[in-house]
Homo-oligomer: 152 residues x 2
Amino acid sequence: MDFDQADAVNQAIRLLSLRHRARTAELLAPLGLHPGQEALLLELARTGPMIQAQLSEALSVERPSVTLMARKLEAAGHIRRSPAPDDQRATVVELTDGGRALTEKVKQLWCALAQETLAGLTTETVAELPGLLKTLTCNVDTRRPHSRRDAG
Amino acid sequence: MDFDQADAVNQAIRLLSLRHRARTAELLAPLGLHPGQEALLLELARTGPMIQAQLSEALSVERPSVTLMARKLEAAGHIRRSPAPDDQRATVVELTDGGRALTEKVKQLWCALAQETLAGLTTETVAELPGLLKTLTCNVDTRRPHSRRDAG
DNA sequence: TAGAATTAGTTATGCGAATAACGTTATTCG
DNA sequence: CGAATAACGTTATTCGCATAACTAATTCTA
């Protein structure tokens, strides 16, 4: 593997990470959300009520991070947390009505972000992009091949 | 813009960011480096001695972050910092011999990382990848179009 | 059924990087 | 020249996410 090529790819990924986070934070600020929290809300919107361990798995963030995110979202009234009926250890997390409404706004922002992110790319490239990025992600993955819904 | 598509892209970018950072940290740990520090070393290797403001610009990280990274790299003996002769405000940063040697090891790791990251992709796709990622980055960029060396 | 191993969640702590505010040095302009 | 402005670097503080260590609940197994 040629170093210049490797360097170019790694640099590009590093930069994309930095900028994407910054831009996300910027877009989410008016809604009072921080990056990461929106992923939790969208996951709940997709999947329905989940326990925190499932969220941790789905979002690929560690359990303590889920605890913190969930606390803040609960304090803001966006989600509700309640003990699971069948497992006294688990905490079920679900969207409140307000949280669901907020999620719709996040979806709009998400579309706007994607639109500016993907500006200038062909429809074909855009269609291939998630699969390509997931391939990069899975290849770089430390743990498991992350097999939920293979969109590539 | 279709939400599912936007969501897929944004999710993929978020995940790639998380995993790439984690994998980078993992690879760099044996060298005693943390993610971000290696970018500074490689930039110095590419460009030669620079002042911190230039590094901040080149790496797209803020000045205080450069200060901290540089402090640690200096403490580890990888770089040298000295006042700029022509500007008493500026601090010139350059690689030590040890730092240069370390950089070579980082380059090897970088190649290995790219190899596993890009496994399974066609040569053609790999060649297009940096340009594609830079396009995403520039589009998402908050500040300027980041025009140094357009490899797309 | 009793004890070991596993799992859910939390607390404490560390690190990278951002912003805000500050002191110091250069530069620009009246 | 001297004052205002800008630029370089640092400190202080905050935020997100990670790991380590802990408690409590569940499941496995002997």
